[in-house]
């Protein structure tokens, strides 16, 4: 089954589209990297995929359903996850919230849920701080916690909005490894980023500048004329 299908899709707020005429098909295990400047439409597209904003027009489906209809199979990491100073939650509680889509209102958590939470914390390297209040952690540690929460969903589609923000080089490498592992088990990943290096391992790259500048394999989508149009400069060769 196609993981993500979009045809003549327009996304935006109110009556004004931010990006329109988006058409793409993604298969299980593929990685789409969205690249563009601030305000280019990356986050708007991700929010639309997550079901937080309604598509303005065109067709869009994830795993054969409308956006927002499969909370157990689609997980979304927002650009700046909230880690309120007032939240008296420790890391494992925040990660456990990733299981709520599966548990709903009434289901009791099982040993499997707890094992998934623990494994997710280990995979992002935050397990050593499982019992620490999230409000006492650094920005990078909080980001690892939110990443673990997304992994705990055990979703088939991951929508990640700048997941490496606030992470050091080791953290960035760890995220890249996580994405590779998820793809290997058939998870489709859409990643919004400012980093051109993140596009190297992608199946598809979409350059955005309030419109689709280019879409295709990295070598095609990142050609100099597209980069110049998008950023005003090209990569050093």
């Amino acid at each position: 089954m196609t993981s993500i299908h979009a045809s003549s899709l327009a996304v935006g707020y109110g009556k004004r589209p931010v990006v329109d005429n988006i058409s793409l098909n993604m298969q299980p295990g593929e990685l789409l990297v969205l690249i563009g400047t601030n305000g280019s439409g990356k986050s708007t597209l991700l929010k639309t995929l997550a079901g937080l904003i309604n598509p303005m027009h065109g067709d869009l489906s994830l795993l054969g359903s409308a956006p927002g209809q499969l909370p157990t199979q689609v997980a979304y990491l927002p650009q700046h996850p909230v880690s309120s100073h007032t939240l008296p939650l420790c890391v494992q509680d925040v990660v456990a919230m990733g299981r709520y889509a599966h548990l709903g209102l009434f289901k009791r958590s099982t040993d499997t849920d707890r094992a998934i939470v623990l494994e997710s914390m280990k995979r992002t390297g935050i397990d050593s701080q499982a019992n620490d209040p999230i409000r006492d952690l650094s920005g990078g540690q909080q980001q690892r916690t939110h990443l673990a929460q997304v992994l705990a969903r055990r979703a088939e589609v991951l929508l990640l909005d700048e997941p490496t923000a606030g992470l050091d080089l080791n953290g960035r490498k760890a995220v890249a490894d996580l994405i590779a592992t998820e793809r290997a088990r058939g998870v489709t990943v859409v990643l919004a980023t400012h980093e051109l290096a993140d596009a190297e391992s992608a199946d598809l790259v979409m350059l955005l500048a309030q419109r689709v500048v280019s879409l295709g394999a990295p070598a095609d989508a990142l050609r100099d004329e597209y980069l110049r149009e998008c950023f005003g400069f090209t990569q050093p060769h």
Binding site: V74, P78, P81, P88, R99, Y100, R114, L118, N131
Partner: protein, 291 residues
């Protein structure tokens, strides 16, 4: 010891006030935890004042103030929802408009009463020393209802406390559960106005829960600390009120705020002295993983 126990041992009205205050403290601890976490203090304040015209009308008509408060709260919640969506105003503007409007209406209605000042003071500051066993029964029912709502809605409430989007992408309707949370706050306000009054109930909703948030690492422990602080405030406030002939409701709420101030100061001193060992006390996962 007599100073601490005799007022309750020798006076039934003091015992009833203590039981009533503890029931309110427990109810406010549950609802107040989510008020603090989700940042609903202004909504809580508006709800507390929005019930005023309902109670005033009920008093004029000679029917139960609880019924009037319930109608006032429903009008307030519906009004905020309609004003913010239809007129594209920010939430706090809509709440502010309804808040002052309902408060003014309540004062106008109360001014028709022969005992204007007395009725208004009763509504705003409560009449803790005059509560009956029937009032206690109502407060107990409210506590059970609020407890059930909080238990059933704990997961979406927690997600909403982090982010509306997280709740929605987890399969929960943000609007539905936000309204359920407001209903829970409204029930708490309605059940508590007899005890601490509509003006001071906000203090019982926020101060104990805020104290809990300083020390707790889990929602359950935040609620437990809030309930203990609220109950302790009730006891101390009633004692102060009895011995120094001060208003009971105000004494209780002021005690709760003072406990928060002392706790916050102590917490800051503890942190500044580097006694906060969070970063190194738990090098590995231990104990049970809670989901």
């Amino acid at each position: 010891m007599n100073y601490l126990i005799d007022p309750f041992a020798n006076n039934e009205f003091m015992r009833l006030a203590l039981f009533g205050g503890i029931l309110v403290a427990c109810t406010c601890a549950i609802a107040g935890t989510f008020v603090v976490l989700r940042g609903l203090a202004f909504v809580g304040d508006a709800l507390a004042h929005g019930v005023l015209p309902g109670i005033a009308t009920a008093m004029l008509l000679g029917v139960s103030g609880i019924v009037g408060a319930a109608i006032g709260a429903a009008v307030m919640m519906g009004g905020v929802s309609v004003v913010s969506r239809r007129f594209r105003l920010s939430g706090d503007t809509a709440i502010g408009l309804l808040f002052v409007g309902m408060l003014a209406l309540g004062v106008m209605i109360t001014s028709r009463s022969a005992s204007f000042v007395g009725d208004l003071a009763h509504i705003l500051f409560g009449e803790l020393l005059g509560i009956t066993t029937t009032d206690l029964a109502w407060q107990f029912i409210a506590l059970v209802i609020v407890g059930i709502i909080a238990f059933v809605g704990r997961r979406p409430f927690l997600l909403l406390s982090v982010d509306d989007g997280l709740a929605r992408t987890s399969g929960f309707s943000a609007r539905l559960f936000h309204n359920v949370m407001l209903t829970m706050v409204a029930i708490t306000v309605i059940a508590s106005f007899q005890t601490v009054g509509t003006l001071l109930v906000l203090g019982m909703l926020i101060a104990p829960a805020a104290t809990g948030s300083l020390f707790a690492r889990r929602i359950e422990s935040m609620m437990l600390i809030a309930a203990l602080v609220g109950s302790l405030s009730t006891y101390i406030g009633l004692l102060v009120s009895y011995h120094y002939d001060l208003a009971a409701g105000a004494s209780i709420v002021l005690t709760a705020v003072v406990i928060f101030a002392i706790s916050a100061t102590a917490n800051e001193i503890r942190k500044s002295r580097g006694h906060d060992h969070h970063d190194h006390e738990h090098p590995h996962v231990h104990g049970e993983i809670h989901v």
